[in-house]
């Protein structure tokens, strides 16, 4: 058996295939199921200080086979109830809370809250693809200075993964800004902002109009972003890990991200209606490693980089 263990910002994970934020992670029950399925770690839905009910529906629409648009609107019960319900300390599989806020102060409060409850690592969502007026998600991810301030505010309390958007002119610059602000890792990518129209109804398909694109169509965009972040960090002299996200639906897809230099990966949309797929993807990655004769992830991580112009 290939050794798939990986270290992520001090956490030791059994394998590099993590559950992505917002998919099948809204209750302790489903999180336990995802842990048993074989996840390397579990990222929770985005948690805000106050409860958010989510957007009006339709919240999701499949736009091509397996590829979805969603605008859930970050539904969550707020920090207090979240801490009440979820156990951030115990458990064989680490739980990584994902935090969302509109100001650095609020990121700080959330980080302090989850650190106080025993979290060892948090992900901060700098990149909600469809923020409403007053919600600063996307803008934070687009501005290196804003991303750095938010990162620093959270990183004062515990190690943080800064989650980046593909909808930026230069993702490498944002990754470097987060590294310099003290991030323990960056994860990329969040969904790609997008829109679909119903020609019969002559209006957007989703209740929120704009949504985020996820699933297979996102894979080549995610690979490019991860590779650009990996290179920018390397060129700037930062050893900070990058977590690859976007469109993974097989062990082969996971291997692509790791060949581009990702430390670990997160899987979301392809688990829709099929929670047990997460463990299968991890097993497929292990099978690929064995077939290729790789004993560890380090043995092939970043191999594709030498082929770049």
């Amino acid at each position: 058996m290939a050794d798939m263990r990986v270290e992520l910002a001090g956490l030791k994970l059994a394998n590099p295939v993590l559950l992505a934020s917002g998919i099948l992670d809204s209750t302790p029950g489903i999180l336990a199921r995802m842990a048993d399925s074989g996840a390397g770690a579990l990222v929770t839905k985005s948690i805000s200080l106050e409860p958010r009910p989510g957007y009006a529906g339709p919240t999701v629409a499949e736009v091509a086979p397996g590829t979805w648009l969603n605008a859930m609107g970050l539904p969550n019960p707020g920090l207090a109830e979240f801490l009440d319900e979820f156990d951030l300390q115990g458990g064989l599989v680490p739980v990584i809370p994902n935090l969302v806020a509109d100001t650095p102060e609020d990121f700080g409060k959330l980080a302090a809250g989850v650190a106080g409850a025993g979290a060892k690592l948090a992900e901060i969502n700098l990149s909600c693809p469809h923020p409403r007026a007053g919600w600063s998600g996307l803008l934070t991810a687009q501005d290196p200075a804003a991303a750095a301030t938010a990162t620093a505010a959270a990183a004062a309390h515990l190690p943080v993964i800064a989650k980046l958007s593909p909808d930026v002119a230069d993702i490498g610059a944002i990754a470097v800004a987060c590294a310099e602000a003290g991030a323990a890792a960056v994860s990329a990518i969040n969904t790609m902002p997008a829109l679909d129209i119903d020609t019969e109804l002559e209006r957007p398909v989703l209740g929120n109009a704009f949504g985020g694109l996820s699933g297979p169509a996102l894979l080549p965009i995610g690979l490019r972003c991860v590779l650009k972040a990996v290179r920018a960090l390397r060129d700037a002299g930062h050893a900070m890990p990058v977590i690859g996200i976007g469109g993974i639906s097989s062990g082969d897809d996971a291997a692509k991200y790791i060949l581009c230099g990702a430390q670990a990966v997160q899987v979301g949309t392809s688990l829709g209606g099929n929670p047990e797929r997460l463990g299968e993807i991890a097993a497929e990655l292990g099978g690929w490693m064995e077939r290729k004769g790789y004993a560890t992830l380090d043995a092939f991580r970043g191999n594709a980089l030498e082929w770049l112009p």
């Binding site: 917002g22 998919i23 099948l24 992670d25 809204s26 209750t27 029950g29 489903i30 336990a32 199921r33 839905k45 409860p51 958010r52 009910p53 989510g54 009006a56 529906g57 339709p58 919240t59 999701v60 629409a61 499949e62 736009v63 979805w68 969603n70 859930m72 539904p75 969550n76 019960p77 707020g78 109830e81 319900e85 119903d198 019969e200 109804l201 209006r203 398909v205 209740g207 949309t269 829709g272 209606g273 099929n274 929670p275």
Partner: protein, 267 residues
């Protein structure tokens, strides 16, 4: 799976608290859905007199079907359902579905128990059972006579219970269970009623299939908000078997509202 525009072609089965809509989607629905499956029905444009805040998507059971069209029976429970009930023939809605897993059809002596707008999926089930030569017995309950949907349409024997005694037995529909010995109890309605139904079925060694209603933001197994214990009600359900609920820590106890906020059910 995506929302498909659907024309409201017919309204029937009116009561003072709701009625049925027949919808003709632009595409799909040529194949028969399973009784117990549901749709996310969205209101793309507000009907006259309503504002855009009613435009939302909510889960509704399939209450009937013919090739290319489907029936929903809706009760006025809040802003979106009220606005859906204000739509008129010719108006356009959008439906995503059929979603989830429905009832098995393998009972020989089925007993159906519906509470309020739990009746619609049971009507569709009863029609399927009758079509395959099996006569169902149906118990329908509601707070008052106008909450009893589809009473005249059920094939086979129908018995009624109302909380206020305005029709049939004066009391809870679960009070009509005793002394019966079906091979399978199919039920849909308020969770406290389902809990009692399950208790009765377990006590009498009878299998049960229960159609649950949980808050569903997506309906397609992506978000996880509808989870009960470790099961996704929108995908593993909405129909769950007695064996899946027997040892539940959440059935009848923990429900979630918008945002996944937990509400502990009144005992």
């Amino acid at each position: 799976m995506r929302p498909v525009a659907a024309k409201l072609t017919e309204i029937d089965n009116r009561t003072s608290v709701g009625h049925s809509l027949w919808l003709t989607p632009c595409s799909g629905w040529e194949e028969q859905p399973e009784p117990g499956q549901f749709v996310m029905v969205a209101l793309p444009h507000p009907p006259a007199g309503f504002g855009r805040e009613v435009c939302d998507a909510v889960p509704m059971s399939v209450a009937g079907w013919e090739p290319g069209r489907l029936r929903l029976t809706i009760k006025d429970l809040g802003p979106t359902s009220a606005a859906l009930l204000a739509c008129r023939p010719g108006d356009m809605l959008a439906v995503t579905g059929p979603l989830g897993h429905g009832f098995s059809l393998d009972a020989r002596q089925p007993l159906l128990m519906g509470g309020g707008v739990g009746a619609p999926p049971l009507l569709f089930l009863a029609q399927q059972l009758a079509a395959s030569g099996i006569d169902p017995v149906t118990l329908l309950g509601g707070t008052t006579v106008d909450e009893i949907f589809h009473r005249e349409e059920f094939p086979g024997i129908v018995e009624i219970a109302t909380d206020d005694g305005s029709a049939g037995h004066h009391g809870f529909v679960t009070e009509l269970l005793d002394g019966r010995s079906p091979d399978l109890l199919y039920s849909c309605g308020p969770e406290p009623m389902l809990v009692k139904g399950l208790e009765w079925a377990l006590a009498n060694g009878i299998r049960a299939e229960l159609c649950l209603e949980r808050y569903m933001p997506c309906g397609v197994g992506l978000c996880g908000v509808c989870t009960i214990d470790r099961q996704l009600v929108c995908q593993d359900g909405p129909v769950l078997g007695s064996e899946q609920l027997e040892h539940s820590a959440e059935f009848g106890k923990v429900v979630r509202e918008a945002g996944g906020v937990v509400r502990h059910a009144p005992a």
